[in-house]
């Protein structure tokens, strides 16, 4: 029997990062206590290497490998590049935070890299099994990251909740996938679309399967009513890990939804549109209203995430490339804003002090006018006020929703985002209108200083010149499989 090796080229960056994970673990083992930064530098180099590999292999052609289980198209490349950038930013922001808390160890970095690999597989999967493997690799790494401070009661509790509910959601997803397999006899995303189109499958079984799949996806996206885990996990995790959970995985989840719902089950759009409407409205309502009552800033941002995911789901409702590209633009804007917001929270943390309550923002403009200004930009952007990027994200999604004829939905969305504006304004109020409770200086490292400033500027500049990013989102969607 002849063994024909598969074409490894489309998966070169995944293979590279896997090798680098092993290198990081081994290097950290040998580096010893005083040279922990080796692992950090190696991780950043791994991400840089991946970025170069992905960038070099960038083409508009769709190349499939591993018997069609893995696909490399322009959308995958663009999403992966965004993931690398986000993960690198997460590492820069959290470097001194984790060092202060004794978490600067090889495990942290190798788990982050494993999670990144999981995200990459999710983005590039074109088969239910690879999709699931990618998702589980990401999820398991995240569970472990949350529990990394094993002597912390809250973190352990958060990890426990995350794990139990996450396993349940994976179960939902697998069950749904099995139903779809039963109805169509295939797990290949592309074949699935063809079989459903030819109507050679049982509609009822498919719809039941779809319900379970949508429920599983909603859990991973933290869309209401499957959002319960998010506030607890955001609150309980070390802030650096919250930053990670809240940012890059949303990009991967977007890719996951694209592969599964759009490319695989796109023929059933009429069925999932209705489900997404309910999920989107519930997420925006619960997220925005519950966020008002929060005093813990991480919980507040968790609910804010829920409401933003509602907006992302709105983008999918129109079921055309206009809507998908709007959703992608929204996810990218969201990731940019989340990175900045959590970075500011970590900025307020000191050795032996966790900034957790929104009152920790009090008088920030008197303590440091510049970071207060950056936070102002971020909060206004989250609230969707122009000329910040958050406005254009909402604008693009609303435009897609109205285009699809759901004008009532657009009105509900803007009214709920009005409620949302209140709690972002409250942060601004604390920073600018109140007096500080402490005059502890804010002294970030210079890399954080530069990156956070760039982050704030990006929120403003991409808002003033949104064309490039909007074009890129549309390009990515049009050049997917």
């Amino acid at each position: 029997m002849n063994f024909i090796p598969p074409d490894f080229a489309p998966a070169s960056s995944e293979i590279f990062i896997l090798i680098m994970v092993c290198v990081v673990m081994l290097a950290d083992l040998g580096a010893g206590e005083s040279r922990r930064y080796v692992a950090y530098l190696l991780t950043q180099m791994a991400l840089l290497g991946c970025a170069i590999l992905t960038f070099l292999s960038f083409s508009t052609d769709v190349s499939q490998t591993f018997s069609g289980m893995f696909v490399d198209d322009a959308m995958a490349d663009i999403l992966k590049l965004m993931v690398y950038g986000t993960v690198a930013a997460v590492l820069i922001y959290s470097h001194s935070y984790i060092e202060d808390r004794g978490m600067l160890r090889g495990e942290f970095f190798s788990l982050i890299l494993f999670a990144t690999l999981g995200m990459m597989v999710m983005i590039s999967a074109s088969h239910f099994l690879t999709l699931y493997i990618g998702l589980e690799l990401l999820s398991l790494s995240l569970y472990a990251l949350v529990a990394l401070r094993r002597d912390s009661v809250v973190a352990t509790e958060a990890a426990m909740k995350f794990f139990v509910l996450g396993a349940l959601a994976s179960g939902f997803l697998l069950y749904g996938m099995s139903m779809v397999y039963g109805a169509t006899g295939t797990l290949h995303v592309t074949q699935l679309a063809q079989i459903i189109q030819s109507e050679a499958s049982s509609r009822e079984v498919l719809v039941v399967g779809l319900v379970f799949i949508v429920a599983g996806i909603s859990f991973k996206l933290s869309a209401a009513p499957f959002h319960m885990w998010a506030p607890d996990v955001y609150e309980g995790s070390p802030t650096a890990v919250t930053l990670f959970i809240g940012s890059a995985p949303k990009l991967a989840a977007f890719g996951f939804v694209m592969r599964l719902l759009i490319e695989g089950l796109g023929e059933m759009a009429a069925d999932w549109q209705g489900m997404l409407v309910i999920l989107a409205v519930m997420s925006m309502a619960i997220g925005n209203i519950a966020a008002i009552a929060q005093t813990n800033v991480k919980r507040m941002l968790a609910y804010s995430t829920i409401s933003h995911m509602g907006f992302v789901l709105l983008g999918f409702i129109s079921a055309d490339s206009n809507g998908y590209s709007s959703a992608l633009f929204y996810v990218f804007a969201y990731v940019l804003m989340t990175l900045g917001s959590f970075a500011v929270i970590m900025l307020l943390c000191r050795y032996g002090f966790e900034a957790e309550n929104i009152s920790d923002f009090k008088g920030l403009s008197k303590r440091n006018a510049w970071y207060a200004f950056v936070t102002l930009l971020l909060m206004l952007s989250l609230a969707g006020i122009p000329p910040m990027i958050g406005f254009y994200a909402k604008f693009a999604v609303l435009q897609a929703v109205i285009n699809a004829g759901y004008i009532e939905l657009a009105i509900v969305a803007v009214l709920l985002s009005l409620i949302g504006a209140f709690y972002y304004l409250r942060i601004i109020k604390l920073m600018y209108f109140d007096d500080p409770e402490t005059d502890e200086p804010i002294l970030p490292n210079s890399d954080v200083k530069i990156l956070l400033s760039a982050n704030g500027f990006a929120v403003l500049l991409l808002g003033i010149f949104p064309q490039a990013l909007m074009g890129l989102s549309l390009y990515a969607i049009q050049n997917s499989m």
């Binding site: 000329p387 435009q399 803007v414 985002s417 009005l418 504006a421 304004l425 409250r426 209108f433 949104p466």
Partner: protein, 494 residues
């Protein structure tokens, strides 16, 4: 005049650039530098706006000084700006008030000077952008962005209840504008992918959507004007804002709402405007009569002027929905004149507040004995606020009453009651504050206005009298555009 020189862009962006420069001076150690940069920037902003008035062609209703560049092609959004006879006077008014506000805050603002001055300059540029935008998205961006500096100005330098006022101001205006956003996107879809406001003017729209679009516009603009019953944010915001904030709020920001009616609601949805005109007129008359009575009962000077602003802006919306030339031109004159008069009134209250740190009428009395020059100025502005002939306050009110008597005697009658209530609340306040015996040792210690205050009030007094005695330059500028608008509105779009 349409030279290649991007004058209008310069008028928008120069104050913003100077504002950023003022921010960059940083902490209060450089307060003097911040003040001077702000003054230079605001004066330059005013000087470059003068050619806008000189080069303006009053014979045409077409957009002038236009500039258009693609902004983001994905949604066919353009950086398209231009002015006509409706927006030009408002831009000049705004450019005129920025240096006034900078000077008014010169010695009074001692904390975070650079942020205060910078916020005003940035806002000045943003407001110019609102008036000049001919693209709906560009308009919306400027419109919303103008909330941010004002929110901070009220919240940081305002009075004791400033946080409540600032958040109320922000959320109220945001509510209106978000619905407007939905309407604009709907228009984008029905027009086949255009965000040009001028395209919308020509776009035929069926009746039901017109009504809904009108309601969305109406909410956005009525909150900003503000009309009864969505006016409640204004007294709170005014009372808590610092003097400069009150001046800009009354003189400029309220005009955004009025301008919105003329640029969006009337020409885009003419049939709905006609259909709902009686409702809007009713709300306007309630504002004129009922809010006038409320103003009578105020114990706080700023609150009194704030309520009087609501009543005066009621005249503006009344004039718009009469659909005749007197009404609309009168309303425009009223907007400009209210800018000067209310700005001056708030500055006068600011003069007193800076000395005594009280806005309560009861804390004053007999001020004329100690501040005779100030009392004379205050007298002039109070009279103008009451609509005395010979001041600009009279011209606008008179024209609107003339316009409304053509429609209905009772409209004119109810509107004219303001001549009595307006005189009553303004002059009664004046009497209690200025005349009588010296009320307290604090009043005894008052000093008359400084040269700086004298200069500011003189300039305003000149304008109030000029437009009162000779309003022709003002009406001449807007005549062609108002005619065109009336023509346009009288044609059904169904």
């Amino acid at each position: 005049m349409s030279s290649g020189f991007p004058l209008l862009s310069l008028i928008i962006w120069l104050p913003i650039v100077f504002g950023v420069a003022v921010f960059a001076t940083g902490s209060d150690r450089n307060a003097a530098l911040a003040r001077w940069i702000a003054l230079v920037g605001s004066l330059l902003g005013f000087l470059i706006a003068i050619p806008l008035g000189n080069g303006f062609d009053t014979t045409t209703s077409a957009m002038q000084f236009t500039e258009s560049y693609p902004w983001f092609e994905r949604f066919n959004v353009n950086y398209h700006i231009g002015i006509d006879g409706i927006s030009m006077p408002l831009i000049l008014l705004n450019c005129f008030f920025t240096p006034i506000v900078v000077m008014a805050g010169w010695e009074v603002i001692k904390e975070r000077v650079s942020q205060y001055m910078g916020a005003f300059l940035v806002m000045s540029g943003i407001v110019n952008g609102v008036f000049a935008s001919l693209d709906a998205v560009l308009f919306y961006v400027f419109w919303e962005a103008s909330l941010i500096p004002m929110f901070l100005i009220i919240g940081i330098w305002g009075g004791p209840n400033r946080v409540y006022a600032a958040i109320k101001f922000f959320l109220y205006t945001l509510l209106g504008s978000l619905l407007m956003l939905v309407a604009l996107i709907y228009l984008y879809q029905t027009s086949g992918g255009s965000f040009s406001i001028l395209d919308y003017h020509q776009l035929p729209i069926p009746f039901t959507p017109q009504i809904l679009i009108f309601i969305a516009f109406f909410l956005a603009f009525a909150v900003k004007v503000p009309m009864w019953p969505v006016h409640t944010w204004l007294p709170d915001a005014h009372v808590e804002a610092p003097t400069g904030g009150s001046v800009i709020l009354a003189a400029i920001l309220l005009k955004l709402g009025g301008y919105g009616f003329l640029r969006f609601a009337l020409p885009i949805t003419p049939d709905a405007s006609h259909y709902l005109a009686s409702t809007v007129i009713a709300l306007s008359l309630i504002a004129v009569v009922y809010i006038g009575l409320i103003a009578l009962m105020q114990a706080d000077m700023k609150k009194l002027i704030a309520y009087s602003s609501v009543a005066h802006m009621g005249f503006v919306t009344l004039g718009f929905f009469l659909f005749n030339a007197y009404g609309i031109e009168g309303a425009m004159v009223q907007m400009i004149s209210h800018g000067f008069i209310s700005g001056a009134m708030f500055l006068c209250v600011g003069v007193l507040y800076d000395r005594l740190h009280s806005r309560q009428i009861a804390d004053y009395g007999g001020v004329v004995n100690k501040m005779p020059v100030f009392a004379a100025f205050f007298m002039l502005f109070a009279m103008a606020n009451a609509g005395l002939p010979g001041t600009s306050g009279f011209v606008g009110e008179f024209m609107v009453i003339m316009g409304s008597i053509k429609i209905s005697f009772w409209y004119a009658f109810l509107a004219a009651t303001t001549l009595i209530t307006g005189a009553a609340y303004t002059l009664w306040m004046y009497k209690r504050v200025i005349f009588g015996a010296v009320a307290s040792p604090a009043v005894e210690g008052l000093e008359d206005i400084s040269k700086r205050e004298f200069a500011i009030l003189t300039i305003l007094a000149i304008f109030v009298l000029w437009f009162g005695l000779y309003p022709y330059p003002l009406t001449d500028v807007m005549h062609a555009s108002v005619d065109h608008l009336l023509n346009h509105v009288s044609n059904s779009k169904l």
